[in-house]
Symmetry: D3
Subunit: 138 residues, 6 copies
């Protein structure tokens, strides 16, 4: 199995590398919009499960857990905005502040609704953040 | 800029999709070994910065922040082990428990050292976990 | 009163010492399955109160607080598994991984139900963990 | 092994039950001074390890982790003071407030020193709290 | 705008300084009852919104968030009691322990009710704590 | 004493009210820049104590605690930026995004230095945020 695992791991490295995006002038300089995206996908999944389940206790848990996940989305986006992005990046991403504001506000809105379209909009904004992130790396 | 951002985002979707791995029988069923990997890369980056900087206060911060990051690695691995992996996965990943044990123990060891090879071993184990994760999804 | 308190304290030491289980090769090497057990007892108590109270707001609080307590059970069990238990313990506790997996999974299941029997099963598994803990100390 | 584990568990239940102390008029009504004691023992153990190890990075980790553990001691004591103890308990424990104040202050002092006698004093005060706890249960 | 902002800021400094209350014999010696008050005002505001909104999901969120805010009230009060107040302050505030006990208990009670009068009582007790705080500073 | 306390409290209300700034369209709609300011004052106080104390363990604690306090500054500023400020506020505070960016970045910089002037700059920026906050309330 150890061998199989290693082979799968090697195959994985060839076909679909999931690179981390390292940034180097801070002690903990590793940033990756995937952190916000994973939590936002969790937000969306919880909304979908909520819609499919009428049990009130289950729905209460959906609300509670979604609240935490949406908070993590906000946190990861804030870290990107304040820690990763630098003044010189504004040349390549002139709408950075507005984009990050709309993204974090969408994360906040996703707390108070079970409307999947809000999560989809949030995921779309995180895609834009990811594009801005990639555009400013080299 | 909005257009540029969207174009970059669209281009990104074509060239390097970063798929989230969704699991569906729980309220918050989104799992992704990337969460553990990103924190482990942070652990490694902190070790490297520590080696290159003699300032004692900077080094203290490295120790403090690495402690937190390594804790997050453990947390994300534990969640995969307990929440994502199911008894039926043991057929495809018979060494699952041993693998997760070594991975979480390596994360713990990375707290007490600035030896980059420990972080590399941790990252290798997370690659194996990622392979096991992919092998059990369909 | 100071005297009464001291007398009670002294009497307590004689009749019912609650020993802590110290482990010595790590900086914070004190482990005790009581930490998981206390939180699991809280999980069970919340389930019982929920059954006896129809007020929807009270029940919502039961769900929220139980979610947190069950999370702490998982955390304390994970720490025992990764930090306390060592490879040499597998001789005395060959089913360690399976036991810890079932225990942490039971803690996870206790989040999604108000069925007291799930908490009882969780407490039974923590008893087994406690037995494994004691069997490996000397 | 399952059988051995169960036998050990059964033997354990007979020889050394570690009862939890349940309190019943709140949703999460399980209290146990063991929670504060375990963290205080961790504080003491860290001080001892610090004294025996000259490595500056190791010592930094001792300081960091002790800070967290002492904080948990304070938290668990505060919960007992505010949530478990009731006005009617003041008859049996007239010095309750002064005892809890000295205990939480000792926990705070244990953050700023590596003097084991401070941890011993803290543990003594937690023993007194435990006695007050037992004196007020029935 | 930068100028406007600075003018507003300057005007603000003259008309309504919001002084922080510094205490100097500890590493993090800044205390301010405003921290507890702000969270208690949040508790009250949530109760009011709950009363005005019948949507069950909204109400669940009210319960969840109020639980967290009330917890922060308790935390900030505990810190004042254990860290800021010193034995010599008992001369000026002989009822300190009873006051802090009632205040933290009121914060706990505010978790289990949507009765605004409980939040008002809590805010009144925080005012008394603030008065004790000011009476012991010089 | 109860009377004295109430009199002091009443006197306090007359002479120096510390109003909370309530915002009303969210469940937890209470905002106050004082939260960020208090933590920033703690950051500054820790820096000053660090400069006055040569003990290496004390200095390590200063670094650790300042890290946490600076994190809280960032958190409170982020909440103001994302949750309190609305698009219509940009008319009165056209430099809002740049101001908040510089303020949160200054909070981040205060983690990596013991230079009190960095904390002073941070406090100055929080004053500007407070002015923007007041300018947008009515």
């Amino acid at each position: 199995m150890r061998l199989l695992s290693r082979l799968l791991s090697a195959a994985d490295r060839i076909s679909a590398p999931l690179p981390a995006h390292a940034h180097c002038d801070l002690p903990c300089g590793v940033y990756d919009p995937a952190q916000a995206r994973i939590e936002a996908q969790s937000v969306k999944a919880i909304m979908e499960r909520y819609q499919q389940n009428q049990d009130p206790d289950y729905r209460t848990r959906c609300i509670v857990i979604k609240e935490q996940r949406a908070d993590l989305v906000k946190h990861h986006l804030w870290v990107l905005w304040t820690d990763y992005f630098k003044p010189e990046h504004l040349e390549k991403v002139p709408n950075l502040h507005d984009l990050m504001w709309r993204a974090t506000k969408a994360a906040g809105q996703s707390k108070g609704t079970m409307d999947v379209s809000v999560a989809d909009r949030l995921l779309g904004l995180i895609d834009e953040v990811d594009a801005a992130f990639k555009a400013t790396k080299s």
